[in-house]
Each structure stands twice: as structure tokens, then as C-alpha cells.
């Protein structure tokens, strides 16, 4: 019985994540449109885009690995969502923990990297090299934050971290308990989402959209799906660590969108960093804040 | 049994050295080896009985301290055996001319006799005589290479050696002046009253410097690289392998019996350390294999000096182990170096010409740097455990010196091994004949292989050899027994006095 319930959760959780992600994409595009004084896309535009890409007549593949890369990118996130507790559902979060989640979320990137590599386009390879560099940049403060949270709540288990926050109300939320880490986290999240000024690996004018250069049709559709998942995952992790997770779906979704909205509202007014500057800025400010924050937490 | 057999140790080789001119050719060539074989057999026999109890012999039945005394404990017996065996393995079978060969063989036999004499002598006068005999034979052999360089080197060696002898003689005179005797047993008995003062120490130091010339002691070892680089490999092997060990043995005996003083040990220790440091480091930059081996042997003898400076039988055991190990390894290496002389770069690819020779070199090198389970390791183990057990920090420093220099030694020896196995010299612009020249002759391989077989036998038998070694060291350390054996009457009379 318990098993059936769990299996159900495992199926539902990725679906919900994807749906929320779709709307996050919509929000992002809306925000961009507002800043640029456009109207912006209609409600279901992200979904239409995906369907359109999948249904395209010309679908070119550079080989098996090209396809498998996309499969890994999507599949990896599907798996990751089951390790991320949402209101009412824990999935296998208590079997994995924060660290595992952090590492599982690297699998889609690795899959994408393999797929892009197979395309034999230097623009794509350069894009991956930059993306991995960016990952090196933002994952370092990210794990500092994970460390702080797991030290504060005495556990590596996200379910318990959330439970501890909800038990004590806002006063025990991560954001009040470890404000510095929360700021660092927001910064890191921003970098993680890879929007301007951190979109070094897309850089359309330099490397012709980098990883996407050889992607079209289903491949690009897969990437689109991946982006939905990515937005959801990043914001859900942040909410779970700092904003008490989701007491119920309403609050949860409100928090998620709020978290994503902050970087999105800033993103579109910036130009792009150079790769080395991303490293410099991410290793400097969020790192510094994170380390001080950890020191305060451990004191 | 009759202990007068002891005299044969010296007499047989001498006889074989001087008889040949009177004999027909065929027998003449066999006489030397035969004599050495007999001495070797005698050595085995003596070793077996002396392991139980030492023996002594007063020549002509003059009671000590008047007459000439031979004293053989298991250490001396083993050295007698070693002298005979090593000389046999390094026997000069061939010469340029018959006359030249005669001379070489005679000198080698004289050297063997002198070495045997050094091993068994029980008084300082005899020691001096045999030492001079060995020296003269050594000069003759070293110059025998016939090249101008060899003669120059030998001349410098001669000057240094004579000066050394002079110093030794001076030291012996001082001792006689003070104690009125040169019999070691007698001296051991009298030393606490007469010689354990600055005066006595000065005498010891003079003898140390004098005999140290042959033992490649630091301060008086500058002759070694030149001689070994220019002399025949066999001669270098004899000098570095054999003669140095006998000089060392005499010094060790003197230290144990007459001067068991911290100052004397300190001098040995410091000079040993300096010898190790200078020798091994100099070898590091050696540009040809013979000099490298020469410096390496200076370093090894430094280690032996350090070992003998450790008080107690543990130090003696370590010293004996190092000396005997070096006695096995260094002559073999010199033999290999005969064809492999000249610049190190010439060695490139020689392993392909003589794989067996290269393998032997690697074996000896490994043993020399003390890789277990080869015998060199056990020697090093004894030395280091002896040093570590001393309370004085100077001994710990010596331990550090041993460790550091061993690393240096490993580097330069393996550099040679690398050269041997490196790209063939035939690939360089120098033509084939050079490389052909590097092929070792069968005789060299046989001689060196015999040493290797001995070495491996010792390695395999190590667990069974430790007890005899400990026993030998104990015997050597037991000066009371020495006195009692040589001077039964005096000992009792002293006691009653």
C-alpha cells in the first residue's frame, strides 16, 4: 500500500514540477516583455512551443548520443524532482538528501554536454566548456550554503529541514536564521539560472547560442522541457532551504514564483559577463557572504 | 689439535708468491690458486672451531708479550676465508706477458698473505709489518696497469700512504713508549692505567689516520678515486674490497681492546659521517663509473666506521655486516666496471649487449642501497637500529646522514641502471664498435656472477646467519676473553696481585 502511494508520488511529482516550470517560463517571458515594453506571450505559449518543436517535420540528429543526451537531460530532471519534497509529497527525498539532489541535478547537464559534444560543432563545445565553467562558479557557493543549512538543522535530509522550519514558523525559517546565506543563495540561484549577465554559454552573438547551435525540433523541445524543470528545481531548493518549504501548494507556488521573479526582474537589463568575470563575481560575493554566514551559523 | 696451522694463513700465500720462479710453467700457474684454496679451507675450518672458542698461537713458543702472537676468533677466521675467496675470485689469470703475469700473481699473493696476517695478528708490531707489506703490494699492483695516469695516481697514493704509515708508526711508538708492550692482549690489560688519557688518545688518532689511508677514512682517502679510476678493475676490487676491510678490522680491534673510550668513538663517528657525506655526494656527480664506485666505497666505509663507533656488540655486528657485505658487492661492481669505464654516457644501451651484466649490476646496486631481502638491507638495519638505540644525539645525526646518503646513492646507481637500459648507443652518431666494446667478456660475467651467487646465497640464508653474526660480534667485543686466551698467566697474576 505504502509502495503504491510512493509510486504514485514519483509519477506526480515530476508532472507537477513540469507544470509549474511551464508557468515560470511564461512569467520570465512576461517580465522580459514588460521590461522591453512588449505585450508578451499568451498563457499557454510555452506549451505551444514545446508541442511545435516536437511536431516539426525536419528533425535532424547527429547520432545516437545526440538523442541520448536529450534523454538524459530530461530524464535526469525527472529523477531529481522525486527527491525534492513538495507539499504533501516527499517522494524519495528522505532516501537521498540535499547533497545527492545537488549531484543528481548535474546529470542533466552532463547529458546535455554529451549530446552537444556529439554534434561536432565547435560553437556547441565552447558553449559546454563555458557552461561547465559556470557550473564550477556557482556550485562552489551553492555547496557552502548546503553545508550551512545542514549544519543548522542538523540533517542532510530535506524533509527534516523543511519540517524543522515549518514547526517554528517564520522565526525558524532559513532566511531569518541565516540571512547571509539566504542572500548568497539568491545570488547563486541567479547565476544558476543562467540569465543575463550570466548567460555566457548561450551568447548568441558570440557562439551562435552555444549548446543549442545544432539543436532543433525534438532536441530543442527537450531542452525547453529541461528549462522548465530547471527553473522549478532551483527555486524549490531555495524555498526548501530558506523559506520553510511549502506549507500548502498555494504558499509553495507563491514562494516559488517570488524567488524566480527576483533574478528575472533584474536579468534583462544587464549585458553579458565574460566567462572569467562570472568566476570572479560568483567566487567573490556569494562565497564571501556564504562563508561568513556559515561561520555565524556554526559559532 | 695443533694451532700452528694458523701460521699457514700467512705462510702459504707467501710461499706461493716466491716459489714460482723455481718451478716449471704448468705448476707455477696453479700454485697460487691452490695455496689460496688451502687457505680458504683453513678459514672454513677455523671459523667452525672458533665460533665455539677462539684460538691463539705464540710463534716459536715465545710466551707473550715477548713473541709474535696470532689470535683467531671467529671474526678473524671469517676474514681469512674472505681474503682467500675474494683473492681467488679476483685472481689474475691473464697478463700481457708472462713476466708481467708472474709479477701480478706474486703481488696478489703477497697482498693476500698480508691481509691474512692483518686478520690474525695479535700485536701492533705485526700489524704494522703486514700493513706495510699490503701497502707495497698495493702500490705495485696499482701501478701495474702500465698507463701514465695509473703511475701518477700511484705515486700520489704512495706519498699519502707512506705518510700514513709514518703517522701510524709514530702512534705505535707512542703506545710502546707509554705501555712498554705492543701485544694487543697486554695492551688491553694495561690500557686503563696507561693509555686512557690524552696521550693515549693522540696515539690512537695517529694510528687511525695512518691505517685509515687504506681503510679510505675521511681525511686520508683522497687517493681512492684516482687509483680506482686508473688501476685495473681487479686491483681496484682488491683494494676497495679487501685491503680496506682488513685495515678497518684492525682499527676496530684496537678500538674494542685498547681504546674503548667515548672520545675515540666520537672521532670514528665524526670521520665516518664526513666520509659518508663526502663520498656519496661526490659520487652523485661522478662522470664515470669507476670514480663513482670509488666514491661510493668511501661512503660505504664511512658507514662501517659509524657502525664500529657504536658501543657494544650491536655496533660490531653492524660494522661486520656492512664490511662483509661491501666485501661481496664492491669487487663485483668493479669487475663489471672494467669494460664500462669512461664517461657514463657511453653506457647507453649496454644492457642490450650484456643483459646479464646489467642484471648483475642492478642486483648489486639494490643490495648496496639496502633493498630487502638482500643482505645490504640487514646490514643497514643493524646499523640504524644500533644508532637509534644510542642516547647521544650525535648518533641520531649519524643515522640521518646514513639515510640521506642512501637516497643519494640510490639516485646515482639507478642513473647508471637507467643509462644501461636507455637508448642504444648505436643510435647515436658514434659507430657500432663503441657499443660492441661495451659487451662484457664471459670471464667478467663469471667472476661477477660468482659474487652474485654468494650474495644471493647469503640473502637466502640470512635467517640462519644472524646467530653466527651475533656470536662473532660478541666474541670480538669480549676483550676479557681475548686477554685470558692470549695471556693466561698474566691474567691470573694480575688477579692475584
Amino acid at each position: 500500500m505504502k509502495m503504491m502511494e510512493l509510486l504514485l508520488e514519483l509519477t506526480v511529482m515530476p508532472l507537477l514540477a513540469f507544470t509549474v516550470g511551464l508557468f515560470m517560463v511564461l512569467m520570465m517571458r512576461k517580465i522580459a516583455a514588460k521590461i522591453q515594453r512588449r505585450v508578451g506571450p499568451p498563457l499557454l505559449q510555452p506549451l505551444y512551443d514545446i508541442v511545435k518543436l516536437y511536431a516539426k517535420e525536419t528533425q535532424s540528429s547527429h547520432g545516437l548520443l545526440h538523442d541520448i543526451g536529450i534523454v538524459m537531460a530530461v530524464g535526469g530532471y525527472i529523477a531529481a524532482e522525486t527527491m525534492l519534497p513538495v507539499p504533501g509529497m516527499n517522494g524519495i527525498a528522505d532516501k537521498a538528501g540535499m547533497l545527492t539532489l545537488a549531484y543528481v541535478t548535474m546529470i542533466p547537464s552532463l547529458g546535455l554536454a554529451l549530446g552537444v559534444g556529439q554534434c561536432a560543432n565547435p560553437n556547441g563545445s565552447i558553449g559546454i566548456a563555458r557552461a561547465l565553467t559556470a557550473m564550477l562558479a556557482y556550485d562552489v557557493p551553492f555547496v557552502v550554503i548546503i553545508f550551512g543549512a545542514s549544519w543548522l538543522y542538523g540533517s542532510n535530509n530535506l524533509v527534516e529541514v523543511i519540517a524543522a522550519q515549518q514547526a517554528g514558523g517564520i522565526a525558524s525559517w532559513g532566511v531569518t536564521q541565516m540571512p547571509l546565506l539566504a542572500i548568497a543563495g539568491l545570488f547563486t540561484l541567479y547565476a544558476m539560472l543562467g540569465k543575463q549577465p550570466f548567460e555566457i554559454y548561450v551568447a548568441p552573438a558570440e557562439i551562435a547560442t552555444g549548446p543549442m547551435v545544432e539543436m532543433g525540433g525534438k532536441h530543442l523541445g527537450g531542452l525547453f522541457v529541461m528549462q522548465c524543470f530547471q527553473l522549478f528545481t532551483a527555486s524549490a531548493i531555495y524555498v526548501s532551504l530558506f523559506l520553510g518549504g511549502g506549507e500548502n501548494w498555494l504558499f509553495f507556488i507563491a514562494k516559488l514564483f517570488a524567488v524566480v521573479a527576483i533574478p528575472m526582474s533584474m536579468a534583462f537589463v544587464f549585458p553579458r559577463y565574460r566567462t572569467e568575470d562570472v568566476l570572479a563575481v560568483v567566487w567573490r560575493w556569494p562565497m564571501l557572504l556564504g562563508l561568513i554566514g556559515v561561520w555565524l551559523v556554526m559559532r | 689439535m695443533s694451532h700452528s696451522l694458523l701460521a699457514l694463513v700467512v705462510a702459504l700465500p707467501l710461499l706461493a708468491a716466491f716459489l714460482p720462479p723455481l718451478l716449471p710453467g704448468a705448476i707455477r700457474r696453479l700454485l697460487g690458486p691452490l695455496a689460496l684454496l688451502l687457505v680458504a679451507a683453513l678459514g672454513v675450518y677455523l671459523w667452525r672451531i672458533t665460533l665455539i672458542e677462539p684460538v691463539s698461537l705464540a710463534l716459536g713458543d715465545f710466551r707473550p708479550p715477548l713473541g709474535v702472537v696470532f689470535y683467531v676468533d671467529s671474526v678473524a677466521a671469517l676474514f681469512v676465508l674472505a681474503v682467500a675467496l675474494v683473492t681467488l675470485l679476483l685472481w689474475p689469470w691473464r697478463g700481457d706477458t708472462s713476466e708481467n703475469l708472474d709479477r701480478k700473481q706474486s703481488l696478489t699473493l703477497v697482498l693476500a698473505a698480508a691481509c691474512g696476517g692483518l686478520a690474525v695478528s695479535g700485536d701492533l708490531f705485526n700489524v704494522y709489518v703486514f700493513y706495510e707489506l699490503a701497502a707495497v703490494a698495493g702500490y705495485g699492483l696499482a701501478a701495474g696497469g702500465g698507463t701514465a695516469a695509473a703511475r701518477v695516481a700511484t705515486f700520489r697514493y704512495l706519498i699519502l700512504g707512506s705518510l700514513g704509515s709514518l703517522l701510524a708508526l709514530l702512534g705505535i711508538t707512542l703506545i710502546y713508549f707509554r705501555a712498554g708492550t705492543l701485544n694487543l692482549a697486554h695492551l688491553a690489560d694495561l690500557a686503563p692505567q696507561t693509555l686512557h688519557d690524552p696521550f693515549g688518545l693522540a696515539a690512537f688518532f695517529l694510528i687511525l689516520l695512518g691505517l685509515g689511508v687504506k681503510a679510505e677514512l675521511f681525511l686520508v682517502n683522497t687517493w681512492a678515486p684516482e687509483i680506482y679510476a686508473t688501476a685495473e678493475a681487479r686491483v681496484s676490487a682488491l683494494l676497495a674490497g679487501l685491503v680496506s676491510k682488513l685495515a678497518l678490522l684492525v682499527l676496530a680491534r684496537l678500538l674494542v681492546l685498547v681504546f674503548p673510550l667515548p672520545e675515540a668513538r666520537g672521532a670514528l663517528l665524526i670521520l665516518g659521517m664526513l666520509g659518508m657525506l663526502t663520498g656519496e655526494f661526490a659520487a652523485f656527480r661522478a662522470r664515470d663509473i669507476k670514480r663513482m664506485l670509488a666514491w661510493s666505497s668511501i661512503g660505504q666505509l664511512g658507514a662501517a666506521f659509524i657502525a664500529f663507533s657504536i658501543p657494544g656488540s650491536l655496533g660490531l655486528a653492524a660494522g661486520l655486516a656492512i664490511a662483509l657485505h661491501h666485501l661481496l658487492v664492491k669487487p663485483a661492481l668493479f669487475l663489471l666496471a672494467e669494460r664500462w669505464g669512461g664517461g657514463l654516457a657511453r653506457l647507453a644501451g649496454a644492457a642490450r649487449r650484456s643483459p646479464f651484466g646489467a642484471a648483475l649490476f642492478a642486483l648489486f646496486a639494490l643490495s648496496l642501497i639496502g633493498v630487502p631481502p638482500l643482505p645490504g638491507f640487514w646490514a643497514k638495519y643493524l646499523l640504524l637500529s644500533g644508532l637509534a638505540a644510542q642516547p647521544d644525539n650525535l648518533y641520531l645525526l649519524a643515522g640521518l646522514v646514513v639515510l640521506v646518503t642512501t637516497v643519494v646513492e640510490a639516485v646515482y646507481l639507478f642513473r647508471v641502471i637507467g643509462m644501461l637500459h636507455g637508448r642504444d648507443a648505436a643510435h647515436s652518431e658514434k659507430p657500432q664498435n663503441m657499443a660492441l666494446d661495451m659487451t662484457l667478456p664471459a670471464s667478467t660475467l663469471a667472476g661477477s656472477g660468482a659474487f652474485a651467487a654468494l650474495l644471493l646465497a647469503v640473502a637466502l640464508a640470512a635467517p640462519w646467519l644472524t646467530a653466527p653474526l651475533a656470536r662473532m660480534a660478541l666474541q670480538m667485543n669480549d676483550s676479557a676473553a681475548y686477554v685470558a686466551r692470549v695471556l693466561p698467566a698474566t691474567a691470573t697474576s694480575e688477579a692475584t696481585k
Binding site: 516539426k56 525536419t58 530524464g75 554529451l114 | 690524552p198 688518532f205 642501497i369 640521518l400 637507467g418
Partner: protein, 619 residues
């Protein structure tokens, strides 16, 4: 004859057998069977076992006795040797022999290494230990030197390091004997912790230095990469996978069993702030980070892997130094995990070399279509090396991370993660430059590596995958080893660990991950239009047309942006340190030679005599 006797006797027979019959084709299979037999025998026997052979030397007994800690390493050794031997026995070995190398010596060196390691791992006292230690060093040297001129040069560079290490150990051994009166390891466990701090610190410094050198810990790591990389293929795999771990074995023995970690933590540099244990932890952490980022700069696949090998050692030591049940289990488990994927990776690189003749990362590319199995091996291998799920490398690293988190070591934790991230970057470059991107025209006709090579590689990565999905399989050995060493024992399950402070269940994680891939595949292949395979030159090129003679592959200076930032941190400080030591030795040597170049030695003799006499008299 008990199991250990049989084990050692078989291993002792193999080197001579290899030297005699190594040229015979069937030898590899024979050796493989012997090794398999040994593995079965070893895995099945009850421990501890004392060997029948017992020597008495200088009044001390020298003996061999294997416990579960030694067995853990011994099993890995035998397993890696098995894979290497099979690999050597096929086409690769023939090519090696055709290149003028001796198969007999290669097999012999490998067998010699196995024997030496087994002797080391089962040593009962410090003399037996030192014998095993030295044999391991020199057998390792022999194996390193098998790959031609460059290999020989790299092996020679190893000599001063190996010898310094050996001498440090020997010095420690002598002092141990002098201070405790015994060399028996069992007896020392009681006595060594009671020594006073100065003595303990000296012993720790000596032994620690000796063992660190073998393990390639900073700052003694420089020898390792070239020595391991340049060796002959199967030899490289063996060396890389397990040889250096003998240093870890010894360090663990010293730190945990002989000295105990609490005593090590007593040796404070700054009271209460920085102890010898912290120093070790930091050395381990730096060993993770610096060599990993050196690996990132390599352009030769073999060197890249060898440098990662050095870095991975840091995780193992760090886990053990932390010393709790989780951390030490992670450290030990990493030895096993690392051996599986590293051996597979090295073999894969040599398979590529076998077909293409090069390991230069700038002259390969696109081989995935030609050597798919080798690609699969490398893919799984790098996932393991990078420490990502679902491979086993993730589990052991996770254990180490978690113990650092629980122990409250944020900076060390950060270092380990930086190491992992660096590894991800570096291994992606490895697989990208070898297998992805443009296939070169000259590699069009290349075939997959023969079965004699792919089979051992696949076996290794399958093992790495299975023990990743079900780490409990390997953790049972680890727990045994922990118990034998005196560490707290990890409570493990088949899928990982269960603990109130965070669980890990790899069975579920791997299951979900593959379910995710399945759904992803379903979505991709089941929905939407059919995709058409296009040629690699049918590509976006900014308006140009591509042809086979155009190199359209991004490989050199792969992480240009990153290097722009961190490039200035590569200062080659260690290389300079090494040259400085070499130069100082050379200088000392020149000075010493001055003594032997005197023109008038007799004068020196006289001066010395006079000075000596005055010293004797004045004293």
C-alpha cells in the same frame, strides 16, 4: 598450509613463471585463472590468518598475518591484476611485444607487484612490512620502466622519491625499535600511543613522509603522474588503480591502528587550533584540489588520468583522518571504487591508443561512432571518477562529504567539492576530445577494440555500476576492514546507509534515475516526428561549407575562460621546489668533489693530524 600460505605461494610462483613462459600466448589465461582462484580463495577464507612461514632474524620474528583490513586491499589488488593480465594477454600484448618490449618482463613485473603487495598487506611486524614496502617500490619501478625511453626516465625520477620514502620509513622503524623495544605490529598498538609527544611527532613525521610519498600526497606527488602515465598500458592501469594505495594502507595503519587518531590530534602546532590531524586533513584536501586542477590542464589522456589518481587519493586520506564511521568508510570504499573505474578508464585510453596510436587529446575526436563499447566504458568511468550518481564513486565521496558536514569542517568540505567540480570539467574534456566532436578523416576506418581489451574494461565498469547501485556489497568488506583497523564500524544497508541525520539509498536513487531516463526516452522517441541522421559535416558553420579537410573540432585550451581566471594560480611551485632540491644536491656534490680534487693531499693529512691531536689533547 592454510589459505594465506597458498595465496602467497601462488603469488610467489607467478613472477618466475612469467619470466619463463611470458612469451607463450596462453600465459595470460593461466595467470588469469590463478588470480581468479586467489580471489575466490581470499574472499572465502576466515580471517585473521597467520602464514606458516615465520623467520627469526636478529632475535626478532618476522611473519605474515592477514586481517580483514589487509584483505580489503588484497582483493582489489588481485582484481585489478586480473583485469590487467587479461588485457595484456590479447592483441594489446602482441602489439606491445612487436614494439620491441618484453612480454615476459611486463608479466613478470605485474606478478612481482602482486606478490610484493600481498606481502606488504599481510605483514605482521615492521620488518616484514618494510620488506613488503621496498619490494612494492621496486616492483613498481620495474613496471613503470616497461614502456620505453620516456617511461624509463619517468621511473628514474621516481627513484629519489621512493628512496627518500623508504629511508624515512626505515628511520622510523629504527626509532620505533629503540623507543618501544618491539617491531611487532600487534604489540605496537598498545605501546606507541603511550610515547611522549615529541617522540610520537618524530615518528609521525618519518613514517608519514615515507607513506605520503608512495601515495603521492602533496608536496611529494610530482613523480607519480609521469611514472604512471608513461608505463605500458596494462601496467599503467594496475599502477594507477592500486599501487599508490599501498601508501594509504600504511598511513591508515599508522594513524588509526598504531598511533590512534586521538593521539595524533594531541600533537598540536597551535594548541587547540591546529593539530597534526588537521595538518593531515589539509594536506589531503590540498591533494584533492591542486592535482585535480593540474589534471585539468593536461593534453595527454594518460597524464590527465594519472593526475586525477593523485587527487582521488586525497579523498581517501581525508575520510580516514576524519575517522568517524561514515568518513572512514567513505575513504576506504573510495579505494575500491576508484580502483574499478580508474583501471577501466586507463584501459579505455590505451584501447584508443591501440587503435589510433595516440593519447593526445588534441589529435582525437569523434570516436564514439567507431568504438562505442570503449566509449561506454569511458562514459561510465568518468561518471565514477567525477563522483556523480549512479556510479560507485558518488557513494564513497558522499560518505566523505557527509562526515565533513557532520564534523563541522566547512572549508575542508568546500575543498572536496571544488575537487569534484574540477574533476567533472576535466573528465568532460577527456571524453569530449576523445570520443565526441568531429571524427578525423584518418580515423574513419577504425574498428572497436578487440574483446580481450573490451571485456576486462566492461567487467570493471559493470562492477563499478553494480557497487554504485548496491554499495552494500562493497561496504561489507569496508565494515570488516574498519573493525579490523579499530575504527567505528559503519551501519550500512544494501543501498547505502540509514542514519537519523540523512539517509542514502542508492537502490532507489538509481532506480528512479533510470526510470527517469526511461520516461525521457519514451518522450523523445515516442512523441513527435522522426529524426533523420545527418553527417557530421552537415553543420552550422556561420555560412561556410565544411569539408573533411577542415578541422572543425574544439579541443585545445578547452577551458579558456576558466584558465584566464585561475591561470595565474598555476605557479609550478612544487616543480620549482623539486628543482631546487636537485640543484642543492648537485651543488653539495660539487663541493664534496672539491675535497677529492686536492693537489697536495699529504699536506691536508698533516694539518688534519695536527688539528686532530690538538683536539684529542685539549678535550
Amino acid at each position: 598450509m592454510n589459505a594465506l600460505d597458498i595465496l602467497l605461494a601462488l603469488s610467489a610462483l607467478m613472477p618466475p613463471a612469467a619470466l619463463l613462459f611470458g612469451r607463450w600466448r596462453g600465459y595470460a589465461w593461466l595467470a588469469g585463472m590463478v588470480l581468479t582462484g586467489q580471489i575466490i580463495l581470499l574472499a572465502g577464507c576466515d580471517l585473521p590468518l597467520a602464514a606458516g612461514m615465520n623467520l627469526e632474524i636478529f632475535g626478532r620474528s618476522v611473519g605474515w598475518r592477514l586481517d580483514a583490513f589487509g584483505r580489503f586491499f588484497a582483493l582489489i589488488t588481485l582484481g585489478v591484476a586480473l583485469a590487467s593480465t587479461v588485457y595484456m594477454g590479447g592483441e594489446w600484448g602482441e602489439r606491445h611485444a612487436a614494439g620491441g618490449h618484453s612480454p615476459r618482463w611486463l608479466h613478470g613485473a605485474l606478478a612481482g607487484n602482486v606478490l610484493a603487495m600481498l606481502l606488504l598487506l599481510s605483514s605482521q611486524d615492521l620488518i616484514a612490512f618494510f620488506i613488503g614496502w621496498e619490494l612494492t617500490s621496486w616492483a613498481g619501478f620495474l613496471l613503470m620502466a616497461q614502456g620505453g625511453e620516456k617511461a624509463l626516465r619517468a621511473a628514474l625520477r621516481y627513484v629519489p622519491y621512493a628512496m627518500s620514502g623508504a629511508m624515512a620509513v626505515l628511520g622510523g622503524l629504527a626509532l620505533t625499535l629503540a623507543w618501544t623495544g618491539t617491531l611487532d605490529l600487534a604489540a605496537l598498538t598498545g605501546i606507541m600511543p603511550t610515547l611522549d609527544n615529541t617522540k610520537l611527532a618524530l615518528l609521525l613525521a618519518l613514517f608519514g613522509m615515507g607513506f605520503s610519498i608512495k601515495m603521492g600526497l602533496l608536496p611529494f606527488h610530482l613523480w607519480q603522474a609521469p611514472a604512471y602515465a608513461e608505463a605500458a598500458g596494462a601496467g599503467t592501469a594496475f599502477l594507477g588503480a592500486i599501487s599508490a594505495r599501498m601508501g594509504l594502507f600504511a598511513l591508515a595503519l599508522l594513524l588509526v591502528k598504531l598511533m590512534t587518531l586521538t593521539r595524533v590530534a594531541d600533537l598540536a602546532f597551535i594548541e587547540g587550533l591546529f593539530t597534526a590531524r588537521d595538518l593531515l586533513a589539509w594536506v589531503a584536501a590540498l591533494t584533492i584540489v591542486l592535482p585535480t586542477f593540474t589534471a585539468l590542464k593536461q593534453n595527454d589522456a594518460r597524464y590527465l588520468l594519472a593526475w586525477h589518481g593523485i587527487g582521488q587519493g586525497g579523498y581517501m586520506l581525508l575520510g580516514i583522518v576524519i575517522g568517524d564511521a561514515t568518513g572512514s568508510a567513505g575513504g576506504l570504499l573510495h579505494v575500491f571504487n576508484y580502483a574499478t573505474y580508474q583501471a577501466a578508464l586507463v584501459l579505455a585510453v590505451f584501447a584508443v591508443m591501440h587503435r589510433t596510436g595516440t593519447a593526445d587529446l588534441n589529435s582525437l575526436g569523434g570516436l564514439v561512432t567507431r568504438m562505442p563499447l570503449t566509449f561506454l566504458v569511458m562514459l561510465l568511468g568518468i561518471i565514477g571518477l567525477a563522483g556523480l550518481p549512479p556510479m560507485n564513486g558518488f557513494v564513497s565521496k558522499w560518505l566523505v562529504y557527509r562526515s565533513l558536514m557532520l564534523d563541522g569542517r566547512p572549508l575542508l568540505f568546500l575543498m572536496t567539492v571544488i575537487g569534484t567540480l574540477g574533476t567533472i570539467l576535466s573528465v568532460y574534456k577527456l571524453i569530449h576530445n576523445t570520443f565526441l566532436g568531429q571524427l578525423r578523416a584518418e580515423h574513419e576506418q577504425i574498428r572497436e577494440a578487440p574483446w580481450s581489451m573490451t571485456l576486462p574494461m566492461l567487467a570493471l565498469v559493470i562492477l563499478a555500476f553494480v557497487t554504485g547501485a548496491a554499495p552494500g556489497l562493497a561496504l561489507s568488506w569496508v565494515a570488516e576492514a574498519q573493525a579490523a583497523l579499530g575504527l567505528p564500524v559503519l551501519a550500512y544497508t544494501l543501498g547505502g546507509i540509514e542514519s537519523p541525520r540523512g539517509n542514502l539509498d542508492m537502490l532507489w536513487i538509481v532506480g528512479v534515475l533510470f526510470a527517469g531516463f526511461g520516461i525521457g526516452a519514451l518522450l523523445f522517441y515516442g512523441a513527435g516526428g522522426r529524426s533523420k541522421r545527418v553527417h557530421q559535416l552537415d553543420n552550422y558553420a556561420g555560412g561556410h561549407f565544411l569539408s573533411a579537410d577542415v578541422r572543425y573540432h574544439y579541443s585545445d585550451h578547452f577551458y579558456a575562460g576558466l584558465m584566464h581566471r585561475i591561470g595565474p594560480f598555476y605557479r609550478s611551485s612544487f616543480t620549482r621546489l623539486e628543482s631546487a632540491v636537485a640543484a642543492a644536491t648537485d651543488l653539495a656534490a660539487s663541493l664534496m668533489q672539491v675535497w677529492y680534487r686536492q693537489t697536495v693531499p699529504a699536506l691536508t693529512l698533516l694539518v688534519a693530524a695536527v688539528l686532530g691531536l690538538s683536539w684529542m689533547i685539549w678535550k
